[in-house]
């Protein structure tokens, strides 16, 4: 079956958009083919800075014919209905329609419509221009004379040529005939901008790719990446260095060249006095070059690796020299910034934060830092951190945002703070908190374990969350502009992974007072009045905990079961209960007890509904007539004592063992006892006993919230 070759040749496409465009092109063309009933065998798309290309092979030459029967109005129906039927089906007269006999409802007309399949070449000629015009570039533009008129083509950068051929390997392929905004599809493309700019005539994908290669264009981005990586490693290795690998940079660089040529340059050793991260950021962000390290010491070396787009006539000497000059100038700037920064103490930068708005409803950065300092004072003792050091760390943690280096390279925030804090003689833990208080940034990022860092990291995140909850700017759906989900997850991981206990409601309530707003409405929570935002935020934490557990493959549905008993605001305890409960539910005792309590709950629900009452309160022992009743009552009493002691001691494993003891009594009860006894008093008493099962187990977890 024949193949399609499509190439869209343009001016330089931004590197960051190429990968997505490759996927979009393949998806749009193949989806449309399938929608047209043209099932293909395979498709692959490619991008270089100047072209998007697609090959789809094994497409049928034409669509299959379609036959369809369409039901029409009844025979002798209104003239308007018959006219409409003729119009819709394309029949010339009603005599062309078949008549379907129907003795019950009356005879009616049927039209047989035959739609012959179209040639694929024509289908392509219709669909490709639409795909070009509707291509989802993140940003697109108009250009040239045609942009004077409305409806001009919009593309990522000016589009110059379209190649579109369709045909069998053995034959000269057809050109898919279409035009977009004056650009006629054909079979002419162009080679490398500088090394082989002449026009090339191509037939199909195989000769297209080969001819491009001869014209110094490597079509496949992966092949360009492989070349750059292998050559860069080799070049570094040959001189006793090791390439500092950087996938994001590699992806970008491969999108900037059609013919990668890897070269190595160097810079003055004196620049190695700047922190390595600053050198790397300078060379990487501004110059898109790789850095290398000394294979023996692992330290950054005074070398860099660049990827040129041409084989220069002097072997690359001028290119290396030019890049070296730019990097020297850039590093001079970086060194100047770094040294300038060192001249000002971090605390002396703080007054400027009073003029920087953090959020219009939450005041300035200066106010925020003061709030965090105050909150750290409360949190530090709970996580075993020295209060004074933690407050000092919170005081300085954000100061590097106002330094020159961070202004130039925002991704170095925190890290520079650490360097500057150490340089001005701060305690190591205080300095480390500058960097670590931003952590963890996501589910896989490292969680700090140094108490001062933990205290500042928690205070930073909780201040953000409490603030946004008070002013009601919570995340909704996919919108989370302040990364509040990440902040909550970070706080959860800080607490659980470091095994720190904290009554969050208390923290939220106290911290809410630090904001100059009239608080939201008060609500009851575990027997006291608290702000509704605090309860909301706690629920948000529980939801995040579920997400976290789900991602770890744990029983996230158990969070609701252990969270349901009132007064639960200690995440570590919740997590430990979930852990113990999950282990218990894996045992036979656990499974049967879960089944037993669910059965009790179901019976209760039905009977409560029937009688329109609940069965609260203690059962009357005098009414027990069967041994199993008595045994269950005893088991429940024992469980109540044992479980409450175990829960009080936070010994959740023992609480589970206590519940396990309940299982035989519950099983025996359901086996031998008829709940709905004829004597209403006995019946009521037995229902109360069932309610007791529910109440007793609830001290540990609400079994009704567990999914089977």
């Amino acid at each position: 079956m024949p193949d399609l070759l499509l190439e869209l040749f343009s001016e330089e496409i931004p590197a960051r958009m190429q990968a997505r465009a490759v996927d979009d092109l393949r998806r749009m063309v193949t989806d449309k083919l399938v929608a047209e009933g043209l099932v293909y065998e395979g498709a692959k798309a490619f991008a270089t800075p100047r072209r998007l290309a697609l090959t789809v092979h094994g497409i049928p030459v034409r669509q299959s014919d379609l036959k369809e029967e369409r039901r029409g109005p009844r025979v002798g129906g209104p003239a308007a209905a018959i006219a409409g039927f003729l119009k819709a089906t394309g029949l010339a007269s009603i005599d062309e329609a078949k008549i379907q006999r129907d003795s019950k409802k009356g005879d009616f007309y049927i039209a047989l419509i035959e739609k012959p399949g179209r040639a694929t070449l024509d289908v392509l000629a219709d669909m490709l221009p639409v795909i070009v015009r509707t291509f989802p570039w993140p940003k697109s533009m108009r250009w040239g004379q045609r942009s004077a008129k409305p409806g001009a083509l919009s593309w990522v950068r000016p589009l110059h040529a379209i190649t579109a051929t369709f045909g069998l390997e053995t034959e000269e392929p057809d050109i898919v005939k279409f035009a977009v905004d004056g650009i006629e599809a054909g079979q002419t493309t162009y080679g490398h901008r500088f090394m082989a700019p002449a026009a090339i005539s191509v037939r199909r994908f195989e000769d297209y790719e080969a001819k491009l290669k001869a014209a110094k264009v490597v079509l496949d981005p992966q092949a360009r990446k492989d070349t750059i990586l292998a050559d860069a490693k080799q070049l570094a290795f040959a001189q006793g260095f090791e390439l500092v690998e950087d996938q994001v940079l590699l992806d970008e660089v491969a999108g900037l060249v059609e013919w990668p040529v890897v070269l190595m340059g160097s810079f003055d050793k004196e620049f190695l006095s700047i922190p390595g991260e600053v050198i790397r950021a300078t060379i990487r962000n501004n110059q898109k070059c790789f850095v290398v390290s000394d294979s023996k010491t692992g330290k950054l070396a005074n070398k860099f690796i660049l990827t040129a787009n041409i084989e220069a006539s002097d072997g690359g000497k001028a290119i290396v020299a030019g890049n070296e000059r730019v990097i020297r100038a850039r590093l001079s700037d970086a060194k100047f910034f770094y040294e300038t920064d060192l001249k000002t103490r971090l605390e002396d930068r703080l007054p400027k934060f009073d003029n920087i708005v953090f959020h219009e409803k939450l005041g300035t950065q200066g106010e925020r830092i003061k709030r965090i300092e105050r909150l750290v004072g409360k949190i530090a003792p709970l996580v075993g951190a020295d209060v004074e050091r933690a407050k000092r760390a919170a005081h300085l943690a954000k100061a590097d945002l106002l330094t020159e280096v961070v202004g130039e390279f925002p991704e170095l925030q925190g890290l520079m703070g650490k360097y500057y804090a150490l340089a001005q003689g701060e305690d190591a833990a205080v300095a480390a908190a500058s960097e670590e208080h931003y952590k963890p940034q996501g589910p896989t990022d490292r969680v700090p374990s140094e108490p001062v860092s933990i205290a500042v990291a928690l205070a930073d995140k909780i201040d953000t969350l409490v603030g946004f909850w008070i002013c009601d700017e919570k995340p909704t759906g996919s919108k989370d502009p302040y990364a509040l989900r990440r902040a909550a997850l970070g706080a959860i991981r800080l607490l659980i992974e470091n095994r720190h206990r904290m009554n969050l409601i208390d923290i939220f309530e106290t911290h809410a007072k630090a904001f100059n707003t009239t608080g939201p409405a008060m609500v009851g929570w575990a027997g006291r009045q608290v702000q509704s935002s605090s309860v909301d935020l706690l629920v948000f934490f529980a939801d995040r905990l579920k997400v976290q557990l789900r991602e770890q493959g744990a029983r996230y549905d158990l969070v609701d079961a252990v969270f349901a008993p009132e007064g639960q605001d200690d995440l570590l305890m919740i997590a430990r209960r979930v852990e113990a409960l999950a282990a218990f539910l894996d045992t036979d005792d656990g499974k049967n007890l879960l089944a037993g309590t669910k059965r009790a709950s179901n019976i209760l629900a039905i009977e409560e509904k029937r009688d329109k009452r609940t069965f609260e309160g203690a059962p009357n022992p005098a009414l027990y007539s069967l041994a199993e009743e008595k045994a269950l009552a005893d088991a429940i009493d024992l469980l109540k004592v044992e479980a409450s002691v175990a829960v009080m001691n936070e010994d959740f494993e023992s609480a589970m063992s206590a519940m396990a003891k309940l299982r035989p009594a519950v099983d025996a009860f359901f086996d031998k006892v008829k709940v709905n006894d004829d004597d209403p008093l006995v019946r009521e008493n037995r229902l109360k006993l069932l309610n007791e099962i529910r109440a007793a187990t609830r001290a540990v977890a609400d079994f009704s919230k567990i999914q089977d």
Binding site: Q145, S147, A148, K149, P158, A312, A329
Partner: protein
């Protein structure tokens, strides 16, 4: 080019570089204009770009524009940062289909050989919040150094460009440093002569950099500047209001250019105030908005003038 005397060659003299670019674009058919006679932050502010980019009429022009960035002053101590520098600006409307080749040939004209050097078009979306303008294009790199900005204007002064103009901006000092092989801007040979006849960029501008840095960062009269900003803003609005030929029905404007001068003035005064650090972060945004409003109103007026295509 071989016929050029040595001192006129672009790789020998700063002025030789400028003259070569002027000749190249004159030869293409551009009108070669002189710098606009007001302080501006970039060549784009010249009405030959900002206003002429709007409307349907063909327009091809090139010029040198001294550009003032008060904040970038370094008292003459930084090897490549200046508060006053030159841009060479080319505006081609509509953007010709071979504009990239035209640009590359202009580099060849000043001695940048594309078989020896690595020339790249690296994504750079341009936006000027104060001008209410944006476009897509690239930074043009030569061996890792940004030597030009290349932009297809999509919108200027809040008005859609139809047709789109292509704008090329060459950073002349950087380019000259590159072709002359000099690391410090003040060491550039300005006139291409040797020995006693040699004049450097430092001879011409070092003292100015020192004096203006002092002025921009320490002594500029902020009370006066705040007043000037307000005056320029009011004057701009006044001229715009008075410029409509028949008052209410806004069909033809007769004073877009003088009004736009006041917009440029306000923009530069804002830059001076910003350099003095007397504008807070929140105020900063509102100043930018105020200048943008002026620019947009000027753009609206311009498209109702003859050159703006109203007639």
């Amino acid at each position: 080019m071989d016929s050029l005397p040595a001192h006129m060659r672009p790789e020998r003299s700063f002025q030789g570089l400028i003259l070569t670019l002027q000749r190249y674009w004159a030869d293409y058919g551009c009108v070669i204009l002189q710098p606009y006679d007001m302080e501006v932050g970039a060549g784009t502010f010249h009405p030959a770009t900002t206003l002429r980019a709007l409307g349907p009429k063909r327009w091809n022009a090139a010029y040198v524009q001294p550009s003032r960035r008060p904040k970038d002053g370094r008292y003459g101590e930084n090897p490549n940062r200046l508060q006053h520098y030159y841009q060479f600006q080319v505006i081609l409307k509509p953007s010709p289909p071979d504009i990239q080749e035209l640009y590359l040939r202009s580099l060849a004209a000043i001695g940048v050989d594309s078989h020896l050097h690595d020339i790249r078009f690296v994504e750079d979306d341009w936006e000027s919040p104060t001008l209410g303008a944006w476009g897509l294009g690239w930074e043009c790199w030569c061996d890792g150094m940004e030597v030009s900005q290349f932009t297809y204007f999509q919108q200027v002064a809040g008005v859609e460009c139809a047709p789109v103009a292509g704008e090329l901006t060459y950073g002349l000092e950087r380019l000259a440093m590159y072709v002359q092989g000099v690391d410090r801007v003040y060491d550039l040979n300005f006139n291409g002569r040797d020995g006693a006849e040699r004049v450097t960029y430092g001879d011409v501008f070092l003292q100015a950099e020192q004096e203006y840095s002092r002025h921009n960062f320490e002594f500029s009269d902020t009370a006066m500047l705040f007043e000037q900003f307000k005056m320029a803003e009011e004057a701009c609005k006044k001229y715009l209001a008075a410029g409509w030929r028949d008052g209410g029905n806004r069909t033809e404007h007769l004073m877009a250019l003088p009004a736009y001068d006041q917009c440029i003035k306000a923009s530069h005064v804002f830059n001076l105030l910003d350099a003095r650090g007397v504008i807070s972060v929140t105020e900063r945004q509102s100043y930018i908005m105020r200048v943008r409003e002026l620019a947009k109103a000027c753009g609206e007026a311009w498209v109702h003038t003859e050159a703006g295509g109203a007639a």
